[in-house]
């Protein structure tokens, strides 16, 4: 295998790895964030090399701030849950107009 081909395979390997992470994050955001948080804490320890600490900071999952009402791409970070209990029905009352 030539050096050029080896470099191509390394680049492709990295791209596939990142792609798997992106898809996994889309399909299982909570689990991915938990893993990223663990990795971030480990890499950010003071005894780690400075470049690893930078990577650790980068891996820190972002806080959920968005909401889903403006399009389907924001749904990794939805707003508060709706109240779980059903609201009680309020009967309508029609009254004659007072003149």
């Amino acid at each position: 295998m030539t050096m050029g081909l080896l470099v191509q395979y390394v680049v492709i390997g990295l791209l596939v790895l990142v792609s798997v992470l992106v898809v996994f994050r889309k399909l299982a955001p909570k689990l991915t964030n938990r893993w990223l948080a663990v990795a971030s804490i480990r890499l950010s320890r003071p005894e780690q090399a400075s470049w690893l600490r930078v990577v650790g900071r980068r891996l820190q999952p972002k806080q959920a701030t968005g909401n889903c009402s403006d399009g389907c791409d924001t749904c990794g970070a939805c707003g508060p849950k709706p109240p779980a209990t059903a609201t009680k029905m309020m009967p309508l009352e029609f009254r004659a107009r007072v003149k």
């Binding site: 492709i12 889903c68 779980a84 059903a86």
Partner: protein, 613 residues
């Protein structure tokens, strides 16, 4: 939070312009439209007032009173009363009221005043009030209400300056709190009538133009005919306007792919860039113009105020199939994406109606399905004209959208039959004034839709395309292999495994394989097909459409179109169903019934089309 940060809540009746005002104050771009129930969650923004003080603005869902009937109204009540988890009550409340409809809006203003917190009343839509010669004695209104009153025009640049000056100034004095109970609210209507008599002069209760237009738009026969024509023209336009642009983008990407490939050394990286990125992603991005044309019309209809009329017209029909007119707006939102549609059901008060709407919302054709439809229609349906004016491709697209709607009605009917509660719930809905859509708002809406599409394209669709290319390329064929290399790849094995399930529907292994990434994002089916055919060497020079016509029968194409009309929605939609209904059972029901319906409908379509052919 710093001591100088003032927390302000924007509240008011639905469709009085709270979110437009929120956008004015914070520079935000939250969705606004001319109908009630657009905002279903609390939204937060900040801006720095001229004095340097930071103001934190909360935009809350609209409500007619504190008798919260739906989940979104409950959020507003809880935030204002300081009962919302993790959130203190606001320091100042801006009560927004539609100046053209104070008869309805003032009652809630009086309810808010009884909370005993500082309140400022923003008389919004003052431009519309002046056009209709409505005269409001603002100083007298201020005196009678006992709170500052400022005029605003939320949809105009600088229309909230007076409000900014007022909230940046001295804090208004709060009225004494009144213990809230139904008996103490009994005289609110009488108070509203007295205040209106003293401060407001209205030549007419409604706008003359609205009345004239509504005579036609709400007519039980002509109204439905107008609605059908409007929707039909929208889908015709998607093809007539969008197709030439789509073809141009496709050609452009093909040209770029050829040039970039010629520049790269031969090898797997060249194949990834040419077959995966330009072949796969380039095919999907070509459908952006058609998506934007569709959204142009949806945004224009939203802005105009026509959509609540459509809901009113369809109420009887929807009630007969177990839905309600209130379901119309969430279902319409589902044409963009099922997720905001499902969340929009929070404005439906009745739990049965809400669940029925959530279960049928994924049947509405979301914009992610448009690339799949456009690809297959472009490849298999000839560009004929019917009756000299309608193009056949547009008609097929219309039929697919109609199939989704009819499917939703059928499912709604079944839910009604099997549900114990068979009662019918009347629709009470406020019809807003008609409004000329603003070019700027539509442009912002289109920009945001385009940005969402491109973000998906460069995010999850790109990632899935890279994975599809990798599994279509590796492992390499064994020594002495005679068949095409892709047959020995992971994709080849997976596709042939899935073909056992989907062969009765007329799907070959490539199509069967493309259904997997479509579960993450629908458009990826197009990118996956383009990649698989490009890696397999079947795409040739004619692109994906050519590869499909060469490898696929018309019966299979029709079957695939029907599959996508009913197929189980993407993962995100199922996750939102779980979140909104708090039940895995509903997720299982949604997935199972859609799979069964899609499978049966595709099977029927394929077998009938094959017989007829």
């Amino acid at each position: 939070m710093s001591a100088s940060t003032l927390r302000i809540a924007l509240v008011g009746n639905p469709n009085c312009g709270k979110t437009a005002l929120f956008n004015q104050l914070t520079g935000g771009r939250q969705k606004v439209a001319n109908y009630a129930g657009v905002t279903i969650e609390r939204k937060e923004g900040r801006f720095v007032a001229p004095s340097g003080r930071t103001l934190q603005i909360l935009d809350l869902p609209g409500t007619y009173s504190f008798d919260a009937n739906s989940p979104d109204e409950q959020i507003t009540r809880d935030v204002l009363e300081g009962n919302y988890p993790g959130e203190a009550a606001p320091d100042l409340i801006i009560c927004v009221a539609d100046a053209t409809n104070l008869r309805l809006h003032l009652r809630f203003v009086l309810e808010v005043k009884r909370l005993g917190r500082p309140v400022v009343l923003a008389l919004n839509m003052m431009d519309a009030a002046r056009r209709r010669n409505i005269e409001i004695d603002v100083p007298e209104l201020q005196r009678l209400l006992g709170m500052p009153v400022v005029e605003t025009v939320a949809v105009k640049r600088g229309g909230a300056l007076a409000l900014i000056q007022r909230v940046d100034g001295e804090m208004p004095v709060a009225s004494a709190a009144v213990v809230d109970n139904p008996a103490s609210r009994a005289d609110l209507h009488a108070q509203v009538r007295d205040i209106l008599a003293a401060t407001v002069t209205m030549p007419r209760q409604t706008a003359a133009l609205d009345d004239a237009l509504d005579r036609w738009a709400l007519h039980p026969v002509f109204g439905l005919a107008i609605l059908a024509v409007v929707m039909f023209l929208v889908f015709q336009a998607v093809y007539s306007i969008g197709k030439p642009l789509t073809d141009a983008i496709g050609d452009g990407f093909g040209w770029m792919g050829e040039h970039v490939s010629a520049w790269l050394p031969a090898g797997p990286l060249q194949s990834l860039i040419n077959d995966g990125l330009f072949g796969g992603l380039g095919t999907v991005i070509g459908f952006l113009p058609e998506i934007l044309v569709l959204f142009f019309f949806i945004l224009a209809l939203e802005e105009s105020g026509y959509l609540p009329r459509a809901a009113f017209l369809l109420d009887r029909l929807m009630m007969s199939v177990g839905l309600t007119g209130r379901s119309f707006i969430p279902l319409l939102s589902s044409f963009a994406c099922a997720i905001p549609g499902i969340m929009g059901t929070r404005s439906i008060q009745d739990p049965r109606d809400r669940l029925a709407t959530i279960l049928v919302a994924p049947l509405m054709t979301c914009s992610a399905r448009l690339p799949v439809y456009a690809l297959l229609i472009g490849a298999f349906i000839p560009m004929h004209h019917v009756l000299g004016i309608f193009n056949l491709q547009g008609l097929v697209l219309f039929a697919l959208y109609a199939a989704g709607i009819l499917g939703a009605m059928a499912v709604g009917w079944v839910i009604k039959r099997i549900h114990r509660d068979k009662s019918e719930h009347a629709l009470l809905m406020e019809l807003p004034s008609y409004r000329m859509p603003k070019v700027r708002d539509i442009a912002i809406g289109l920009w945001e839709r385009g940005a969402i599409f491109l973000k998906r394209l460069t995010g999850v669709i790109l990632a899935l395309t890279v994975i599809m290319w990798a599994i279509s390329t590796f492992p390499s064929p064994p020594a002495g292999a005679t068949g095409p290399a892709i047959d020995y790849s992971l994709a080849g094995y997976m596709g042939r495994g899935l073909q056992y399930i989907f062969a009765p529907l007329g799907f070959n292994w490539q199509i069967s394989l493309s259904l997997i990434p479509a579960f993450a994002a629908r458009e990826t089916a197009v990118a996956a097909l383009a990649t698989v055919y490009a890696v397999g060497g079947d795409a040739g020079t004619g692109g994906l459409a050519h590869a499909l016509t060469a490898n696929f029968s018309l019966a299979s194409a029709l079957s695939l179109l029907v599959w996508f009309a009913f197929a189980p929605q993407c993962m995100s939609t199922l996750a939102v169903i779980r979140r909104e209904t708090n039940s895995w059972r509903n997720v299982a029901i949604s997935f199972s019934y859609m799979f069964a319906v899609a499978y049966a409908a595709s099977l029927l379509t394929y077998q009938i089309a094959r017989l007829l052919a």
